[in-house]
């Protein structure tokens, strides 16, 4: 009888897994099943551009089954529970699916209900998210006719998916309102629970000028307790307040509720996972990839892409009865739109903070690290094509290995 590998979630991480394992595992020995209740696969980095009318909705969505190899069983079902002790998954429809190996790729989603007053009568009227397709589209419609006032861009609490996205939103908003000749009517404030917009020393030194030159006000160390929709204010636990006319918030991010129902997650439903092997701490035949983990890496598609190689290698080792290998270094890589046709690129891992340099070819580039350039912006736009055609198909990206390269980076030796 064939052995069974089950993947929960067909988002970025799960789809990469399906494609890579389909090539690695022998079809006569393994049966692969992937389960996701969604019908659509979204290019989530595109949600940043939707509110500014720079991407159309059609550019960021495709059918979920388009990217799953035909010989893999795709179940369009909702998962009720993982029963780790019995190596099985229960579906909401009552079916049971046994597995020999489980990969959890259930991602993270916004949970506005975690903050009092957020998801009430003003949700999608004066309070918006841009982390969902609906949120980004509703915000686009609002921004098309908004006449100005206090725009507050806000992070509820960490960790969040793509931690730089709200900052990019602020930069793009500055450009958007300038181009509409109404920048003087808009006051942009960036509110964060962290100690500032930039928290790493080198980035802070190199990038603080961006906020000043774009006249973006910073409110830091702000931990939101509630939204007071009567007064149009956000209120923090220290009773500080920030007034808004338009609140663009990144709500609390949480793992999937199936993790909660299975009793295997932390207080935000993220799955305890070894940060180097990506094996779960729940049980040895469960691996976790992407936003679903509790590891201290960024929650981002690029991270899932880098993790994939390590998860596949460790699954092969596990199947062969060998010890799993601690190969994941926390590598992350992302473009940061700074507006006016420019972007930054950062490349970093658990140990190495973002620094200046050249990427992906050391000493040559053509991309510049931690420095604004036009070519970085083109890189960001080209990434949508790379995502749909290379990344989620599990094909390696040339010159960009899973392990972060130190060559080409200006690293101050301690």
């Amino acid at each position: 009888m064939k052995k069974k590998l089950v993947i929960l979630g067909a988002g970025t991480a799960g789809t990469i897994m399906a494609n890579q394992l389909n090539k690695k595992l022998k079809a006569e020995e393994w049966e692969i099943t992937i389960i996701d209740k969604e019908q659509k696969h979204y290019y989530q980095p595109g949600f940043l551009f939707l509110p500014f009318d720079r991407y159309t909705p059609e550019q960021v969505v495709k059918k979920i089954d388009k990217f799953i190899p035909k010989n893999i069983q795709l179940l369009n079902e909702d998962v009720q529970q993982i029963v780790a002790d019995e190596n099985k998954v229960l579906l909401v429809n009552g079916k049971e699916i046994n597995y020999d190996l489980l990969i959890i790729a259930t991602g993270s989603h916004i949970a506005p209900q975690e903050i009092q007053g957020m998801e009430g009568t003003e949700w999608y009227k004066s309070i918006f998210d841009f982390y969902t397709f609906d949120g980004a589209l509703n915000l686009r419609n609002k921004m098309r006719t908004w006449e100005g006032g206090k725009l507050v861009i806000h992070i509820c609490e960490m960790p969040i998916k793509c931690p730089v996205a709200p900052l990019e939103f602020a930069f793009l908003a500055d450009e958007f309102f300038r181009k509409k000749n109404m920048r003087e009517k808009v006051e942009i404030t960036y509110v964060t629970p962290m100690s500032g917009a930039f928290t790493k020393p080198v980035a802070a030194k190199e990038l603080e000028y961006l906020l000043e030159s774009k006249q973006i006000k910073i409110v830091s160390d702000f931990n939101i307790e509630k939204v007071d929709t009567e007064k149009s204010q956000i209120v923090d636990y220290g009773e500080r307040t920030v007034d808004y006319d338009l609140l663009v918030t990144v709500p609390t991010n949480m793992g999937d509720e199936v993790i909660l129902r299975s009793g295997i997650g932390d207080d935000l439903n993220f799955v305890p996972t070894d940060k180097n092997t990506l094996q779960s701490k729940v049980k040895e035949n469960i691996f976790v990839i992407g936003d679903a983990t509790d590891i201290p890496a960024s929650k981002a598609g690029a991270v899932a892409h880098f993790e994939a190689e390590i998860v596949v290698d460790n699954i092969m080792r596990f199947i062969e009865g060998k010890a799993v290998s601690p190969d994941f270094d926390g590598h992350s890589n992302c473009f940061i739109e700074t507006g006016n046709g420019k972007a930054l690129l950062i490349d970093f891992n658990y140990e190495q903070e973002p620094v200046k340099g050249t990427f992906p070819i050391p000493g040559i580039g053509p991309l510049q690290l931690l420095k604004e350039s036009r070519i970085n912006h083109w890189g960001k736009l080209a990434f949508r094509w790379i995502y749909w055609n290379i990344l989620i198909k599990g094909i390696p990206i040339p010159f960009v290995p899973s392990k972060m390269k130190t060559e080409g980076k200006q690293i101050n030796k301690k």
Partner: protein, 103 residues
């Protein structure tokens, strides 16, 4: 990174005054760091500090939410103990790293 003398001890600190090695921490250092923040450490403060240190040793990211669910203090009480920026201030006194994002 630099060496700083706190309460007579030479400790490794980053530019923002956060200790880089939790093993160098002791109660006298904590008292001195708290004084810089105009905080007088009570029994409750010490409980929060040792909770943060435990989380740090377990490599768990420290968040306001976790502190609020720790059973030691509510988030409101955390603000009363360490006013303005409780997580940052408490981490500094506890000798644990400053909470950071990716850039």
């Amino acid at each position: 990174m630099s060496e700083k003398t706190i309460a007579g001890y030479s400790v490794k600190c980053n530019d923002q005054g956060f200790m880089e090695d939790l093993n160098q921490w002791n109660k006298e250092i904590a008292l001195a760091l708290a004084k810089e923040e105009s905080i007088e450490l009570t029994e409750k403060h010490w409980e929060v500090l040792s909770y943060l240190q435990e989380q740090c040793k377990n490599e768990t990211a420290i968040t306001i939410r976790k502190v609020g669910k720790s059973g030691i203090v509510t988030i409101k009480e955390f603000y009363q103990l360490f006013p303005k920026a409780p997580l940052k201030t408490a981490s500094k006194i506890a000798g644990t790293p400053k909470p950071v994002s990716c850039i």
